[in-house]
Point group: C2
Chain length 631, copies 2
C-alpha cells in the first residue's frame, strides 16, 4: 500500500513542467475565475436575489447545464487551492472566501446545498437522481472544501460541506426510512473518501461504500423514482442505465460502458474503497475493467469515450479519429483512476496510462497560453477544430487545471519502507518515507530525453526500497547507483525496478531510458487505424499539423523504411522535440475535377515535421493527423 | 428537349429488373399499405373521430413525424398507382379510393388539406413554413393524385388536390395581400410541375416558379414568421437556412448544402422549370450544383449527404463510410434530378449518376425480399446495421418503391426525331418518337454483362436519331447496326452515340460494353478513402460481407497486383455476378491482449468474394466494407 506524495512538497523548478505549472497558476486559475464571473456562474450564489432567466436551456433529459454550475466553481476552488500553500495569494483566497460565504448563507437549514434547487425548485430536490446531478455538484464542492482546508487550514467551507454530507447521510442509505438512491453521475463517492481521509469519520467512508455497493441493484432506484415523478422509466433519454454504470452491480461489470467521465469517477472511488476497506472484490472488478479499457477502448493518446452521443463508450475497438469525443475530463479522470490503482497495486500498467494521459490526451485539453481549451480531443482534424476561451459546459478547464496544480502527488508515492517514482521530470521533492524526511532532486530533460538524475538529500542515512517505474514504452533501460550499474533482470517486478539500500546524503541514481522514435500500430480490429501508423517517442505521441506541412497530413503515406529523426526545437511553443522525415504525398494536382478514378493517386516526396500531439492547435488552424498511412 | 417515356409502356419481361419490379409490385406495395395501417398512418384521416395521443413526439424543432404522415401515404399512392395500368388491381384501387374519400371529406372548405393541422391545430396552419412541412405533405399528395389520375383516369383525388393548390395559390405569392412564404422542405415545386403537365393550367407552373424564385430572398420570410410566433429567429434549431437551401436565392448557389433530400427535390424542380420556362439561369445554377455534387460530395455508390445531424451535406470531400447517412430518399431523388437534367441537356454526366444510384445507393435501400429497408446507406459496417420492417420516419420505403414502379420512364426519352436510351436492361418498350410508334426490344444480361441487343419493331420505316448512352465507366464500346460497325469516334457527343437512319422492322443494334473489374480510387482529399480501393464492374459497386469472408473485411489488404475475377453466381439472392480473388488479412491471432504495439500486423492470405453492394445485408448480419485497403 502506497500513499501519494503531498503535492505541495514537489516543486517543478525547471524542465518540462515548470512552465506548464507556472502558466496554470498564473494564467489559468485567474482567467477561469474571470470566466466564471463573466458567464454568470457565480451569480447563482446570490441567494438573496431572485433567480434570473435561464442561460442554459433545459435538455431533453430535463437537465440544464445550470443544474451543475456549482460543480464548476467547486472544481475551480480545488484547482486554485492546490496552488496556495507554495504560492500564498491573498487575492485568490479572498475570491474563494467570497464564494464560501455565499454557499454558507445559502445552505438550507437541513444542510442541503445546491444553488439550482435552493433558488429555483426547492420542492423538487432529490426527486431525480438519474438526471439532475445534485450529488455530483456537491461532490465537487466537497473536493474543493477539502483542498481549501488542506491549503489554508480554514474550516468554514469544510464545515459547510460536512453539514451537507450529514444531510445526504440522513437522506440516503440502506436503512429503513431512507431513500436507497445514488447519483447517476458519480463523483460524491470519491469526494467522500477524500473527506474521510481528513476527518477519519467512519461514517464518511461508510456513505461512499454504500453508494458504490448500492449502484446497479435491481429493480433500479431510477425506475421507481421515475414512476414517483409520474414518468415511465421507458422514456429515459439515454435508454440504458449502462450510461451511468448503473445497469448491474459494479462488481459484476466486465466491460467499461456508458459516459466516460462517470465511469472513471466511479472506478476511482472503487479503487479508493478497495484500498480503505481492503476489499479485494472491488480491486478485482477494477482490474477487469482496467484491462478491458486499455486492451479494447483506449486511444493511443490515452483519450477515451469515442462517442459524442453518450459522451462515452460504444463497442470495443471503436476508436474513430476525427469524431473522437475523448473528453479532456475523461483523460484527466483516467489519470485519477490509474494513480489510485497504483497505490493499491504498484504496477506500471497503471502508471504507464497515467503518463500517457499526462503527456498526451489530457494535456491536449489546454492551450500553451493556459487560457484556451479543448473539450473533445480528436486525433484527426480537417481544420474545423478550434480551442475555445470558455465552453457551454465548462467542466474540462477546471479539471485539467486541478490535475496540473496538484501534479506533484502523481510523481511519487511512499510506503513505510518504500519510495516509488511513477513519473519523470525535473523537480525537487520533499518526501516522507516512514519516519524519514527525504529530499529528492530529479533533473532531466524528460520527456524529450530519457536521461534522468536522482539525487538524495537525507538528514541521516535511511534504509528504504526505491522503486523506479520502467516505462512500458522503453525497450532498453539502464540504472546505476553512484556509478554502479543495477542488474535490471534481477530487480524488476510489475514494471518497477526495486533498489533496497541505505540511502545517504548525496547518493545519485542515474537512469537512461533509450528513447528512439517508435512506430505504433493498432490492433487490426480498430478499422480506422488499419494500414496506418502513429509516431511516438518516449511517452509523447506525435501528430502532423497542416501549418508545418503546408497541406493536409491525411494525404501523406509514410514509407515503412523511412528513417525519422528527432530534434529539439527551442522555438516551438516554449521548446519541444520534433520529429522529421520525408513521406510521400498523394498528389491532388492531376485529379482535375474527378472525385473517383481508376488510376491510383500519384505520390510525390514531401518532407514533414511532426510535433507533440499535446501542442496541436496552438498555431494557425488547420488539418491534423496522428495516424498516418504507411506504405 | 426530351420527354421521358411513358413508363407504363416499358415492360421488364426478363433480366435484372424483372424480379425487382415484380417483387416491388407484389410484395412491397401491399406490405407498405399494411404497415401504414398497422402503424396508424391512415388513422390520421379519420377526421370524424377525435385525434388520438401522439405516436411520434415533438422534436426540438417543433416538428413531430406525424406532421407529415400525409406525405407517406401520398407517396405510397403514387408508387401503387404506377403499377395499375399494366397490372390492374381492384383491391389496390379500393384501398386508394378509401384514402381519397377520407381526404376529400377532411379537406377544409377553403381547400386546405393537411391531416395534422385540420385535426389538431387548425389555427396554427401556415404559421411555421420553416419547420412543419405543410406544403411538403401536400406536394406528395399532389404527386399521388397525378399518378392515380394518369393510371385510372379517375379525377376525384386530382380535383381535391387542385382545390388544395388553389388554396395555396390564394395564400402565397408575391402579390399584395399574400404571404411571401415558401416551404422549407421542398417538394410542392416539382409536384406543381407534374400537375401543370396534366392540367396545362399556367397558374400551376407560375406557382412553382414563384416558390423557386422566392426561395432565399432576404430578409428571410422565416425570420419574420418566427417573430410573428413570438420567437427569436436566432433560436432556429438548424441554425442556418442553408439547411433548407434558403440561405440565398437559388440562382446564386454554388455549393450543394443542407438537407440532402430537400436539395435534390429543389434541384429537380429547378431542372423542370428550366425546361418548362426555358430558363437558362436555372439550368446554369443546376449545372454548377451538379458539378459541385459529383466532383466533391458524392459517394461512389451515388449516396449523398454524409451527416445524420442535418441529414445532409457538411464540407466538401467529407465522405465517411461507416457513419454515412446517405439516405435512400436522397439517392432516389438524385435519380429524379439527374433524369430531369438529361431531358434538358442530353449528357451522360447526368444519366451516369442516374445509373449509379439505380444499381447502388438507391437500390441498397430495399431488401431482396422487398419488405425490409435501409434509411441510411452506409458504405462500411461492423455489423451493427440491420434492415428494418418499418421506420420511425418511413419516407424511404415509399420513395424507393415509386422509383422502381415507374422505372421505365428512366430508360428512354424521346424527342420529335430522337430516341435516347439512358439505361440498359432487358425490357420491351412501346415508345412514340415524333408521330411514329416504335417497339424496342432490349435483351441483355446487363448489369452482369455488357452485351446488349436492341431490336426494332416498327409499323413502317421511320427516320429518327437513336442516341445511345456510352456509360462513363466503359473504356471500350462497340456498336453495330445490322452487323455493320458504327464508328464511335465520329458519333459520340456528350457521352451519347448518335445513329441517324431510317429504322425498319427487324433492325438490330448490338452493343458491347467491355466490363472488366475496375479498381476505383477516391480523390486524396477524401481522407477516409486514402490508401483504399473500391471494386466496380460495369455500373455495379461491390462490397465484401463478413458472412462470405468469415471475418471483418476491414482487416483485408488487397494487393495492387492481385487479379480479380468475375463469376455469375445463380444461387446468390436470385443471381448476381460476384468478384473473387485473394487478399491479405491483418492477423489478430498474435496480438494477445495488446491494443497497440510497435510491430505491424502480420498478414496472411485470405480468399475473398465480393458481392454487389445493393445486395448487402440480405443474409446473416455482419461487417461490410466497400473501400478496402490496398497494398
Amino acid at each position: 500500500r502506497y500513499r501519494p506524495a503531498d503535492h505541495t512538497g514537489v516543486v517543478f523548478d525547471g524542465g518540462f513542467w515548470q512552465s506548464w505549472t507556472e502558466t496554470v497558476r498564473n494564467v489559468t486559475i485567474p482567467t477561469q475565475h474571470k470566466r466564471l464571473e463573466e458567464e454568470g456562474f457565480l451569480e447563482v450564489l446570490d441567494f438573496d436575489k431572485p433567480a434570473g432567466p435561464l442561460v442554459r436551456p433545459i435538455q431533453p433529459s430535463g437537465l440544464s447545464m445550470q443544474h451543475f454550475f456549482d460543480s464548476d466553481f467547486g472544481k475551480w476552488i480545488e484547482a486554485a487551492s492546490y496552488t496556495l500553500k507554495a504560492h500564498p495569494n491573498a487575492v485568490l483566497e479572498t475570491k474563494i472566501d467570497a464564494i464560501v460565504e455565499k454557499l454558507e448563507k445559502g445552505q438550507m437549514a437541513d444542510g442541503y446545498l445546491n444553488s439550482w434547487f435552493i433558488r429555483r425548485e426547492p420542492d423538487r430536490r432529490w426527486t431525480n437522481l438519474r438526471d439532475l446531478h445534485e450529488m455530483y455538484s456537491m461532490g465537487h464542492l466537497l473536493e474543493g472544501a477539502v483542498a481549501y482546508h488542506e491549503a489554508t487550514g480554514k474550516r468554514r467551507f469544510l464545515d459547510v460541506m460536512i453539514r451537507a454530507v450529514d444531510h445526504i447521510m440522513a437522506t440516503f442509505g440502506a436503512e429503513p426510512g431512507k431513500l436507497r438512491g445514488y447519483d447517476a453521475h458519480e463523483e460524491i463517492e470519491l469526494a467522500l473518501v477524500k473527506l474521510y481521509r481528513v476527518t477519519r469519520d467512519p461514517r464518511h467512508l461508510k456513505l461512499a461504500t454504500y453508494f458504490v455497493d448500492e449502484r446497479g441493484r435491481m429493480p433500479s432506484y431510477y425506475d421507481g423514482e421515475a414512476r414517483k415523478r409520474g414518468e415511465s422509466p421507458d422514456d429515459y433519454v439515454y435508454k440504458t442505465y449502462a450510461y451511468s454504470q448503473a445497469h448491474m452491480p459494479v462488481r459484476d461489470q466486465h466491460q467499461v460502458v456508458g459516459h466516460a467521465v462517470r465511469a472513471m469517477y466511479l472506478f476511482s472511488a472503487m479503487a479508493d474503497l478497495s484500498h480503505e476497506n481492503d476489499d479485494r472484490t472491488l480491486k478485482e472488478a477494477c482490474d477487469r475493467l482496467f484491462d478491458n479499457l486499455v486492451s479494447r477502448q483506449l486511444y493511443v493518446t490515452g483519450g477515451l469515450g469515442p462517442s459524442a452521443s453518450n459522451e462515452g463508450f460504444t463497442r470495443e475497438f471503436d476508436l474513430p479519429n476525427e469524431t473522437a469525443y475523448a473528453e479532456t475530463c475523461a483523460a484527466v479522470a483516467l489519470g485519477f483512476w490509474s494513480h489510485r490503482m497504483a497505490q493499491v497495486d504498484l504496477d506500471s500498467k497503471f502508471t504507464d496510462r497515467l503518463e500517457t494521459v499526462l503527456y498526451n490526451g489530457a494535456l491536449s485539453g489546454i492551450s500553451r497560453d493556459g487560457e484556451h481549451y479543448f473539450y473533445e480531443n480528436v486525433l484527426e482534424s480537417h481544420g474545423q477544430h478550434r480551442r475555445w476561451k470558455w465552453h457551454y459546459c465548462p467542466c474540462c478547464p477546471t479539471n485539467i487545471a486541478r490535475f496540473i496544480t496538484s501534479l506533484g502527488q502523481y510523481f511519487y508515492s511512499t510506503g513505510d519502507h518504500e519510495l516509488a517514482i511513477h513519473l519523470y521530470g525535473t523537480n525537487c521533492a520533499d518526501l516522507t518515507v516512514g519516519d524519514s524526511f527525504v529530499r529528492l532532486i530529479q533533473e532531466t530533460q524528460y520527456p524529450w530525453d530519457g536521461d534522468i538524475s536522482l539525487r538524495f538529500a537525507v538528514e541521516r542515512p535511511s534504509r528504504f526500497q526505491l522503486r523506479l517505474r520502467i516505462p512500458g514504452w522503453c525497450r532498453q533501460a539502464q540504472i546505476s547507483v553512484n556509478g554502479a550499474a543495477v542488474d535490471l533482470d534481477q530487480c524488476v517486478t510489475k514494471g518497477y525496478a526495486a533498489i533496497s539500500r541505505e540511502w545517504r546524503n548525496g547518493d545519485e541514481v542515474r537512469i537512461g531510458f533509450s528513447m528512439p522514435v517508435e512506430r505504433i500500430y493498432a490492433h487490426p480490429a480498430v478499422s480506422e487505424d488499419g494500414g496506418r501508423v502513429a509516431l511516438r517517442r518516449g511517452p509523447v505521441v506525435y501528430c502532423i499539423e497542416e501549418t508545418d506541412l503546408g497541406g493536409e497530413p491525411q494525404r501523406l503515406r509514410l514509407p515503412a523504411s523511412e528513417e525519422i529523426s528527432a530534434r529539439y526545437d527551442a522555438a516551438l511553443l516554449g521548446g519541444a522535440t520534433v520529429l522529421e522525415g520525408t513521406a510521400l504525398e498523394a498528389d491532388i494536382a492531376d485529379w482535375q475535377n474527378a472525385l473517383y478514378r481508376t488510376a491510383p493517386p500519384s505520390l510525390k516526396e514531401r518532407p514533414f515535421k511532426a510535433i507533440p500531439y499535446h501542442l496541436w492547435a496552438n498555431r494557425e488552424p488547420g488539418a491534423m493527423a496522428i495516424w498516418l498511412q504507411e506504405v
